[in-house]
């Protein structure tokens, strides 16, 4: 009796072919992307999304074409960070053009598709079982966003990943082996511990991790004009990864972000220089890697 592999084709259900077609259309859509840089952490609340936007601004200042995909479907904030939450996506003949911030950074976020304060919901025929299929569906939505947008020619596509150390591997698989990773932590044992888990999970993938960024590394005291520690005891947890740079907590940045602004609009700000140095370091390291569009498949 014949076995599964003795039979050519799938008898017409066409499911494998459709999944392959999805992959092919993503590859087509991303064919102009030189570096795909996933910004992850594992831990929520470390300022990763804000830092992603600032890093995009700094890369843009260096003369690069940059876009951001907000992969956090359940807590999208890039639309708001780029003051694009009221922007309407308008399709054209070949797909959907990517909306741009006034600094020229392309942003695609669920925040443009699901109006605030609505939560992202999926229809289902299997009630009460969303834990079994929701992750699959979320990745389908991300694949659709990746495939249907006209990303065009980009030096950097930054992907702002949602929290979850274990899931970082699934994102690595989705984005392909040539996607580069940057991890964001804050100087606490808990945050570094979770980032260490993400690092361990990524070690099982072929993806290259450029390094980590230590965010909220101290705060600026306007009284004495110095950066003081935000966490009283330095973290003991060592990360087996290069540090790309540290960024102090910046109240000015928080206020700017609420107005949809960027540090690039406020070059005198004391956290702008660290972000710029990190962007330069990212460029230096990314240039040693093969271009994403060539190596992806």
């Amino acid at each position: 009796m014949k076995g599964y592999y003795d039979i050519v084709g799938d008898g017409g259900s066409d499911i494998l072919e459709q999944v392959e077609a999805q992959q092919a259309s993503i590859a087509r859509s991303l064919s102009g992307v030189r570096n795909l840089l996933a910004v992850g952490s594992g831990k929520g609340g470390v300022g990763k999304s804000t830092l992603t936007m600032q890093l995009a601004c700094a890369l843009r200042e260096l003369g690069h074409a940059v876009s951001i995909l907000d992969a956090d479907l359940n807590g999208p904030c890039q639309a708001r960070l780029g003051t694009l939450q009221d922007r309407v996506l308008v399709p054209d003949d070949s797909g959907v053009p990517v909306p741009k911030t006034r600094n020229g950074i392309g942003v695609v976020s669920m925040g443009m598709v699901v109006p605030e304060p609505r939560a992202v919901e999926f229809e289902s025929v299997a009630s009460g079982s969303s834990h079994t299929w929701r992750a699959t569906k979320e990745f389908t939505v991300l694949r659709e966003l990746l495939a249907c947008m006209n990303w065009g020619k980009l030096d950097y596509l930054l992907v702002d990943l949602p929290p979850g150390a274990e899931r970082i591997v699934q994102y690595a698989e989705l984005l392909g082996p040539a996607a580069l990773f940057v991890l964001v932590t804050i100087p606490s044992d808990m945050s570094r511990g979770i980032v260490a888990r993400s690092l361990d999970a990524l070690a099982k993938t072929p993806n290259r991790i450029l390094g980590y960024i230590e965010n909220m590394d101290g705060y600026y005291c306007s009284d004495c004009g110095r950066v003081k520690p935000l966490f009283p005891v330095p973290s003991d947890v060592k990360l087996d990864l290069d540090c790309l740079g540290t960024v102090p907590f910046d109240p000015e940045l928080a206020a700017l972000c609420d107005r949809g602004g960027s540090l690039a609009d406020s070059p005198g700000s004391f956290s702008w220089q660290p972000v710029q140095r990190i962007a330069e370091e990212v460029c230096r390291r990314a240039s040693e890697c093969a271009p994403y569009s060539k190596e992806r498949r």
């Binding site: 014949k2 017409g12 066409d14 309407v88 054209d92 909306p99 598709v113 699901v114 919901e121 025929v125």
Partner: protein, 141 residues
């Protein structure tokens, strides 16, 4: 999943897919040699798992309403907007509707509402390719 006619040792071919009823999909397979037919009946969990992949059993040829040009087909239902949001306030020309199909289904309701609001504010009466171009420029894309 593949189906084998045991008596003929021959791979069965998909003949018919019936739309989900109470979450169950009926997929009929037939043996090309002896014409014997069987039906695969999925439970809602199985239907949902396939749906979550964004594929359609039977592929592009399967009959579905509101079929999308997007390779990820209609099984992915809209989110962030139910059918109410899709109620057309404005006539869309076939060309403009076709462009809308370049978008993932879940993104269409909000795009549609936004484009129609843009048109309404300008006293336009229908959405055609030209209006879409204008809206695209207006929204800075």
């Amino acid at each position: 999943m593949k189906f084998l006619c045991v008596s003929c040792d021959e791979a069965m071919k998909l003949k018919e897919v019936n739309p989900p009823e109470r979450g169950s999909l009926t997929v009929v397979y037939g043996c090309p040699r002896c014409q014997h037919e069987i039906a695969m009946l999925t439970n809602p969990y199985e239907t949902q798992v396939v749906a979550s992949l964004g594929v359609r059993v039977g592929g592009e040829s399967a009959e579905t309403e509101g079929a999308s040009k997007c390779p990820f087909s209609g099984v992915v239902q809209s989110m962030g907007g139910g059918p109410e949001d899709l109620k057309i306030g404005f006539p869309w020309t076939p060309e403009a509707s076709l462009r809308l199909e370049n978008m993932p289904e879940f993104a269409r309701p909000m795009a549609k509402t936004g484009i129609e609001t843009y048109a309404k504010e300008r006293g336009l009466t229908q959405i055609d390719a030209q209006v879409l171009e204008q809206a695209k420029n207006f929204f800075g894309m």
